[in-house]
Symmetry: C2
Subunit: 376 residues, 2 copies
């Protein structure tokens, strides 16, 4: 097996863990944040940019790649690594989250999901077996089981969906034929502790090489998310990586690492960057703000990203106001550097035994976006 | 004087010349093609990208920078070099071409031009003195006299405009106060040999350090453009650089270098790149074409640009079809590399004495876009 997880340090004051995921395309020190490259590109960036950022894992979306350019085309190139020319580790999701987001355009049955493409309305069908076949064509290092993503606060729906998700997890496992890909199971159960526990116990029996935690970036509160992670921590296998899907913000990294999460992905840093919002140690800032019009300072003093080493806030604001494409790349570089560098510091602190102190210092300075704006 | 032009080689079979323009921000081997950075950025590219492309001169637009972010703001940063963090040579145009393009929104008188901003309709006035003051604030290495750009085929209008352009050239020269910028005069005269000759003679007397050739990318035929260059070649001072403004296509580089031009700029390579069109040795190609859907080859075999060294046509087509921003940067890199590398090869051929042969070889292979599509 070319995939393994090495647990190196467990924090004594929290559930934080440091380790390494070994993959066929290189090692991933954990905890790790994965930039999102939905359509086989982390928007605005080249693979060289990602290397310069020291990204160790990127995510790409099965649903999007299946529709365009198509899994067979990617397979014809030898897989996603060759197609997009990124030689580091890649994770593909299962498309479950995307097809369940197509409200009104999809129909679930025991066998799978029938849905209409958001691009052209054409009809398609995903089954656990089909989704594994697609992901095997895409050839990522980590692939995900096909799961049903119900609204997090509907208990009866969650019970039903959870059972189906468990049957689908078994079918995914049975369908897997490539030994060089790690298939993660996905824990569901909404905001219900009993369902989450049940899901973690069931999937643990199936002995997946890693576990996704799904359905926790879809409308529940941060407190509910934290509670679910606390339920899962003692149940999920200690020596397997835990991947909190679709999360999160800078503050999420700290709070969720503290609750035992090893792996994250989120569109937030890249999406807000394209809107001109950038992370600083004190919180998010919109570079479009008129107060930066003549500001000679970089986004953040001391930041080692290319953008901060090179350009003033005034220049970046000019590019944004003038609708220059370069602006989007420069803010993306900064935000990803911020997330990746913060995660490297988190890992260092775990190894050094100073994670709780570092977490407190960071969160004292950092003003998060208020609860009601989450997920927008 | 920190600016000078060193004529190194004159071709024996054509009017082609090789030389070096020395500027405060570095040397520019000529003939040279300057990428256009209208709003203080060559669209999609960082200064690092431009260095990697070995660009030796870029152009920025006075009209655009005057409106946004404003010349005073740029001056507050120490000029355009510092503002955009490009430490190589920069040329700014005078805004003449832009304001005369604002048909219906501008009014010319002897003193200058009153016009309305294309951004918000606000009223502004450019005079020769004002335009020099703006360009001194922007701080480019090469600045341009304020000129009137009439329709190329209206003789009476051209006579009138030419006289005014000459008076404005004298006023620009008188207004210049910075010794570290080279002010070029601009030859006008439409498609009329007598007016072009008259303009070249008049401006030669004023002893500018370089000469722009204006009004030749605005609707006349290629044959007319070539004829005007042939008229100017023996009249313009031999030891001053000649800059054909707003030209051109790959075939233009050859035809106009052969007629004594040292300096070019054009939005063509960057503009068509953002539409998915790329240069090859055989002509322009649209990467959106379905025939590239599964094409493993680079845009051009043997091309040393980052895009061709890294990606397949199929991947580039995927990015274009999926409206990914990265596509625009990758096609821009290729097209600028094509122009700059072609110009380096032209210069090498002039120095080696093989320019005419190289020109014939290139133009035999290269299928230009037909006449009626020019300038679109």
């Amino acid at each position: 097996m070319s995939f393994s997880f090495e647990l190196q340090t467990e924090d004594t004051q929290s559930a934080a863990r440091a380790g390494v995921i070994h993959t066929p395309h290189g090692d991933i020190p954990t905890p790790v944040f994965a930039p999102v490259g939905t359509q086989a590109t982390v928007k605005t960036l080249t693979p060289t940019d990602l290397h310069d950022l020291q990204a160790t894992l990127i995510l790409s979306n099965t649903y999007h790649l299946y529709l365009r350019p198509g899994a067979d085309l990617v397979a014809d190139f030898g897989g996603l690594h060759q197609f997009m020319q990124w030689d580091g580790p890649i994770l593909t999701d299962s498309g479950g989250f995307q097809v369940f987001s197509l409200k009104g355009l999809r129909k679930v049955d025991e066998e799978g999901v029938t849905f209409q493409s958001h691009l052209d309305g054409s009809k398609h069908r995903f089954t656990p077996e089909g989704v594994i076949a697609i992901q095997e064509k895409l050839g990522a290092d980590i692939i995900m089981a096909f799961d049903e993503c119900p609204p997090p606060d509907d208990y009866d729906y969650n019970v039903q969906a959870l059972n189906r998700t468990h049957r689908w997890a078994e079918r995914c496992q049975a369908a897997q034929s490539r030994p060089d890909q790690a298939l993660y199971g996905i824990v569901q159960g909404g905001i219900f502790a009993d369902l989450r526990a049940q899901s973690a116990e069931f999937l643990s029996q199936l002995d997946f090489p890693g576990y996704g935690i799904g359905g926790l970036s879809v409308g529940e509160t941060k407190a509910q998310m934290h509670e679910m992670l606390e339920v899962l921590h003692p149940i999920l296998p200690r020596h397997k990586p835990r991947y909190l899907m679709g999360v999160g913000s800078p503050e999420d990294l700290f709070e969720c690492v503290a609750r035992g999460v090893d792996q994250f992905d989120c569109v937030l840093p890249t999406r807000i960057a394209r809107n001109g919002a950038v992370f600083t140690r004190h919180g998010r800032v919109s570079l479009r703000n008129a107060r930066f019009k003549a500001d000679h300072a970089p986004i953040e003093a001391g930041c080692q990203c290319y953008t901060c080493r090179t350009f003033s806030r005034a220049y970046l604001r000019h590019l944004l106001i003038a609708k220059e494409i370069l602006a989007l790349r420069l803010t993306t570089l900064h935000n990803l550097h911020f997330m990746l560098e913060t995660m490297r510091q988190i890992r260092h602190a775990i190894v050094e035994g100073s994670f709780t102190t570092f977490k407190q210092e960071f969160l004292n300075d950092y003003q998060p976006v208020t609860e009601e704006r989450r997920g927008k």
